[in-house]
């Protein structure tokens, strides 16, 4: 039986500086399917290419792994040779050694990382026994021109729209009953202070009615087999218990007797067990929360069904798993706010008036639980002194996350500013370590908060927060004057760390995507290929690969769409260019 051949490139000494290629070779040689490991100083040179061609013919290799330096050079240099030897995409795979090692500090760690990645890739190769079944379908260079987008936040929406507008089919999968993600929860966005809902809902509506987009809400991807150009995705559609005929009239909500903590409003409000997360939800079909609904035991309740005029409620709905073929996958699973345990020294979870940034967004939002009026959760009073604490569990390897959460400096400045707009006689304080305002117009925005809105910035961390006489006392420091600071505040807002959405684990498992120790997916290369995932044909967008603000997420989404569309490019490249050029 033909086995796997591995070609290892040294990129003219560049790679052996970083990785122990001998160890890599000998470790891979141990793999049962590997028949040969062939090193070469410069595989993409003519001599190197000739060596590959010879080996493919001479050794009768059934599958090939090329471990080299270049992330997309593979396409140009190596694929033609592979195709010539009748090795399809399922039988060849490229490992970018520079990428697989770029995050590690020393040679040993880099080598180990590279070996692990290579072994994972070897498992994806299909040896010749499978090959026969695959070949006949390889019409149209074997690419299924349909994309799967996982996650319906701004990143997923934008990627879906761009791909669909280029004429390709998209399946957009979202766990929640509506698309919109975290962005739809936000009040206004920095630095332009646009209303978040106002700018997002048109995009949501567009994706919802796009003829090329199939929107699957309350659904999850539970399996993904195959490879670049031809994946088979298993999608579990969880029962919504409400049929598409729902007209969102809301009669059921009035009838429902069950009150549930409203997650969309970050726990600051109640909702019913049958609900629409927010009025502009897409699809605008209600959903039934099966954890809390009484009607699933029909004897207990059934009130919503009784009042539903179109008869849209079906308590007997069952989960359905669908298999869909796609050619590429875009992962846009987003983020959560840090909530592992309590942030005990700040009394988060203990005091009602210590909230996180997302909760404050809901307090500011015109459609939020207070209609945009700033009130503190404990007693509804308007807070006159508000302390914002940044870097809560960010930049904190000891008690939280070592990384910077990227967006908090800006949203905190925005929070403080909006708070001052709502409560002109109030005072906002911000504890920070470094103000990270690196985007377009960001620096000016923070300056505005300080100068025009009189937000007091204090450079230092906060050690402790506690309640005394109905006020929230904050013990911090101003390292610039070298003094300790005590503020008796009415409300404290914590910019807690951004962590991957809790669905990342199942997505990682299903897709085989590499993730860092925090659960953020790693791009093949932060600089050269920022949207490429570690598995060919899977692309990464937004916060699933690290804290990212909205414009960057949108740009990445479009970037990922470009990769997908290039893959789906309908017309094969023309051999001869036909430039319409004329000497003037």
């Amino acid at each position: 039986m033909a086995g796997i051949g591995i070609f290892v490139c040294d990129c003219d000494g560049e790679l052996s500086e970083r990785i122990d290629l001998e160890v890599l070779g000998s470790r891979l040689q141990e793999h049962p399917d590997v028949v040969d490991v062939i090193p070469h100083p410069h595989l993409c040179s003519e001599a190197g290419l000739a060596l590959i061609e010879e080996s493919l013919a001479g050794k009768g290799l059934g599958a090939v792994l090329v471990a080299a330096c270049a992330y997309d050079l593979y396409d140009v240099a190596f694929r033609p040779i592979m195709e010539k030897a009748e090795l399809g995409p399922g039988q060849t795979v490229n490992l970018d050694l520079r990428v697989s090692s770029s995050r590690d500090e020393n040679v040993k760690a880099r080598t180990k990382h590279s070996v692990d990645r290579a072994l994972a890739l070897l498992d994806r190769l299909e040896l010749p026994s499978d090959k026969l079944e695959l070949v006949p379908e390889e019409a149209d260079h074997g690419v299924v021109r349909r994309a799967l987008v996982i996650g319906g936040g701004i990143g997923g929406i934008q990627a879906a729209l761009d791909i669909a507008n280029s004429g390709h089919e998209v399946v957009l999968v979202e766990r929640q009953p509506s698309i919109g993600g975290h962005m739809i929860q936000l009040s206004e966005t920095f630095p332009s202070l646009d209303c978040s809902q106002c700018i997002l809902t048109p995009k949501m509506a567009e994706v919802g009615r796009h003829p090329k987009v199939r929107l699957l809400t309350t659904s999850e991807v539970t399996g993904l087999e195959g490879r670049l150009g031809r994946f088979t995705a298993k999608i579990e559609r969880k029962p919504r218990y409400v049929l598409d005929s729902c007209t969102a009239c809301g009669d059921c909500v009035d009838a429902c007797p069950v009150l549930v903590c409203d997650q969309f409003n970050t726990g600051l409000r109640w909702r019913k067990a049958i609900f629409q997360p927010f009025p502009q939800a897409v699809p605008s079909i209600f959903a039934l929360d099966d954890e809390h609904c009484l009607g699933l035991f029909p004897l207990a309740c059934g009130k919503c069904e009784q009042v539903c005029e179109p008869g849209s409620i079906d308590y007997d709905m069952q989960p359905v798993t669908e298999e869909i073929e796609v050619g590429a996958v875009v992962v846009a699973t987003g983020y959560e706010m840090y909530s592992y345990g309590d942030v005990s020294e700040y009394g988060y979870g203990k005091y009602d008036d210590v909230i996180n940034g997302l909760q404050f967004e809901r307090l500011l939002s015109a459609s939020g639980p207070t209609m945009g009026k700033v009130m503190r959760p404990s007693d509804g009073r308007e807070p006159k002194e508000v302390v914002f604490i940044q870097c809560v569990r960010s930049r904190n390897p000891e008690r939280g996350k070592p990384y910077c959460s990227g967006i908090c400096c800006m949203y905190t400045a925005k929070h403080a500013m909006l708070y001052k707009h709502r409560v002109p006689d109030g005072q906002a304080f911000v504890f920070y370590m470094d103000i990270r305002a690196g985007g377009k117009g960001y620096e000016e925005f923070v300056q505005r908060a300080m100068e025009n809105d009189g937000v007091m910035y204090l450079r230092g961390r906060v050690s402790k927060v506690f309640e005394e006489n109905g006020r929230i006392v904050v013990w911090g420091a101003d390292t610039l004057v070298g003094k300790r600071i005590e503020i008796a505040a009415d409300l404290v807002v914590l910019a807690t760390a951004i962590v991957p959405n809790d669905g990342y684990e199942s997505v990682a498992q299903v897709t085989d995507l590499a993730a860092d120790e925090h659960g953020f997916f790693t791009a093949t290369h932060g600089k050269a290929d920022p949207v490429g995932g570690s598995v060919p044909g899977i692309y990464l967008v937004g916060c699933c690969q690290g804290p990212t603000d909205i414009p960057e997420t949108v740009a990445q989404a479009s970037g990922a769409a470009a990769k997908v569309c290039a893959l789906f490019a309908a017309e094969p490249k023309r051999a001869v260019p036909e430039p319409m050029l004329a000497e003037a």
Binding site: D72, I435, K440, Y442, I550, V554, V576, P579
Partner: protein, 616 residues
């Protein structure tokens, strides 16, 4: 004679709960021109849509009004239904009696009255509607990319991989832009040129890419899908041949023009990726205006790092190894008084990288960094900075530097450490300045040439900072890279792919279909004053010469370019002779609506009560 069908939606109880839907249908049934009026629970449902199509056929309707929710939700739905029934879709109007009425008013007779008014106004409008057809514009599926730095290369690459022709124009003799001059990238610490090389190799292997170095775009005319660019190429000198990174990766070498030439290229989209420059050191007197030896710009230091790879780093003035190097960040950034008010974003990270690479070259050296805030918000950036401080012993000092001057063969730096509250003096062997990133020289000329916006500094402006970051307000022109704002390589690449995605989207069909709701100028009425041309923000007004059969010029009038007009209506408001009109919102449509409203007010209420108070 108009035969209008009216369909009133109950929307479950959403409308019917506050508005007497039967009365709306009943009263409007009597309205002149209305031949059919009915109410239904959910007009948007399949049976509802079928009713519309069926009634059009049965009753030979000439217009349809659906009184339901916001047109944003379902206008498209009902227009498609009309088309199915054989009616021109633009003969359908919606009256928004939900968001504008039932949802915002209590259940009372006045609410129903308002619904009736809104519906009546829509009926009057439809009476004056004209059938319209969507505009089809041919798309030339070739893209012009201006600038062959990393962003331009990425756009070109993605577009070429999408199967389209690319014209890549570079002003300099070399490709690769600033990235080709850098030592290594943060936080990966990989040689910059090694990252650039495979991209370039791949790009040049595409047959549908045409690279023009030493070239500039000198004129651009036309509109989305149909631009015409004039490109001027300088002759290249012998000195330039063989030095380019492109020559390194492309065995055949890059073809170079030996004489000056000008070509015209027709393209469907344009992507400026013209990059950045740095603030001139000559304009910084307190740091010596470039006259102090061993005060280097960060780009000069990159050069030193790149050329000293594998060996010791020596300063250019006397070849000595600098034992103490001071890096100063935010030089003319975040400085609205003397320089640029914005943050240059990438300096924190590249300074840390430079300090680390310096320590690798000179292990017993000491690096100092003056900063205000350490901005390390990218992936792995925070950890990278901590490595610089902890493993490489780089001393970070929070404060600005007030003055640099030469003394006893040293460069003396006077700065502050605001954390200890002390003033600090460092006699250094070299000083590296992280100068503010500015728009590339000539950026404003490019902005003018392309008709895209630029901010006060000359950075090109996007259509929307949040949700349309790679588009401009001009259709068919997209932005990539640092010409929009200071930006690191990873972000440039992502944005470049984003811009490419917009190009691929535009090129996905041979024709671009646009809504026909744009301006139209009646050539018979136009007086040729061209005031409209002055106000048009989309450059859509063109000059048309009307000639007789013999070719004699009869008249010069304004005409609207269908491809460019965005339908804003400014020309209509400006036109003194009434020649301009906006399809779908014609004067006759609007006036008939106003008349419908005002007639109601003059007939039912006293004259002194103006029309705004009740009906809205």
């Amino acid at each position: 004679m108009a035969r209008i069908g009216l369909f009133v939606c109950r929307c479950g109880r959403n409308i019917a709960g506050t508005v007497d839907v039967a009365e709306v249908a009943g009263i409007l049934a009597e309205h002149p021109g209305v031949v059919h009026a009915e109410e239904y629970t959910y007009m948007c449902s399949d049976p509802g849509q079928l009713k519309v199509a069926q009634t059009i056929a049965d009753q030979h309707l000439t217009g349809v009004v659906v009184a339901a929710c916001s047109p944003q939700l379902h206008e498209r739905t009902f227009r498609i239904a009309c088309e199915k029934g054989g009616l021109n879709p633009y003969m359908c109007e919606m009256a928004n009696i939900r968001e504008h009425c039932s949802w915002v008013h209590p259940e009372e007779p006045a609410t129903t009255e308002k619904a009736i008014e809104l519906t009546r106004v829509a009926v009057e409008k439809v009476k004056h509607s004209r059938p319209l057809t969507p505009i089809r514009i041919p798309v030339n599926r070739r893209v012009l990319v201006i600038g062959a730095g990393i962003a331009g290369i990425q756009v070109a690459l993605d577009a070429a991989r999408g199967g389209y022709d690319v014209v890549l124009v570079e002003r300099e003799a070399y490709v690769g832009g600033h990235m080709a001059q850098l030592s290594a990238t943060f936080p990966e610490m990989e040689r910059s040129r090694f990252l650039l090389r495979p991209k370039l190799a791949q790009l040049l292997s595409h047959d549908n890419v045409w690279l023009l170095t030493n070239s500039e775009v000198v004129e651009l005319t036309g509109f989305v899908g149909n631009f015409k660019a004039t490109i001027k190429t300088r002759p290249s000198t012998d000195a330039e041949a063989g030095l380019d990174l492109a020559d390194e990766v492309f065995p055949r070498g890059v073809e170079r023009q030996r004489q000056e030439s000008t070509v015209e290229v027709e393209v469907g989209a344009v992507v400026p990726a013209i990059g950045y420059d740095v603030y001139p050191l000559e304009s910084i007197p307190e740091y010596g205006s470039g006259s102090i030896p061993n005060v280097l710009t960060s780009l000069q230091f990159e050069q030193l790092l790149r050329t000293s790879e594998g060996g010791e780093l020596r300063r250019p003035s006397d070849g000595a190894v600098p034992r103490e190097v001071v890096f100063i960040q935010c030089v003319r950034s975040r400085d609205r008084e003397h320089g640029m008010p914005y943050c240059s974003r990438i300096c924190c990270m590249y300074t840390a990288k430079q300090a680390m690479l310096y320590k690798q070259r000179v292990p017993d050296g000491q690096a100092y960094v003056f900063y205000i805030d350490i901005r390390a918000q990218g992936k792995d950036d925070e950890e990278f900075i901590r490595r610089a401080a902890e493993q490489y012993g780089v001393l970070y000092l929070r404060g600005r530097v007030s003055r640099i001057f030469p003394q006893d063969g040293k460069v003396v730096v006077w700065g502050a450490d605001t954390l200890s509250g002390m003033n600090v003096e460092i006699p250094a062997d070299a000083v590296v300045l992280a100068l503010a990133m500015t728009p590339a020289h000539g950026a404003l000329d490019v902005a003018r040439l392309l008709g895209v916006g630029a901010d006060d500094h000359g950075f090109l402006t996007e259509a929307h900072p949040k949700l349309r970051p790679v588009e401009t307000s001009t259709a068919g022109i997209f932005l990539a890279g640092a010409c929009q704002a200071p930006r690191d390589i990873g972000s440039c690449v992502a944005h470049a792919s984003g811009a490419a995605s917009k190009v691929l989207e535009l090129f996905s069909a041979r024709h671009l279909e646009r809504e026909p709701e744009i301006a139209h100028i009646d050539e018979g009425i136009c007086a040729g004053c061209f005031d409209c041309r002055e106000v048009c923000p989309s450059r859509a007004i063109e000059v048309k010469e009307i000639r007789d059969r013999r070719g004699e010029l009869l008249d010069t009038v304004a005409t609207v370019n269908d491809g460019l007009c965005q339908g804003c209506g400014l020309c209509v408001a400006t036109c003194r002779s009434g020649a301009a009109d906006l399809e779908g919102y014609t004067d006759s449509q609007l006036f008939s609506q106003i008349e419908a409203l005002s007639s109601r007010w003059t007939s039912t209420t006293s004259a002194e009560k103006p029309g705004g108070g009740h009906g809205g």
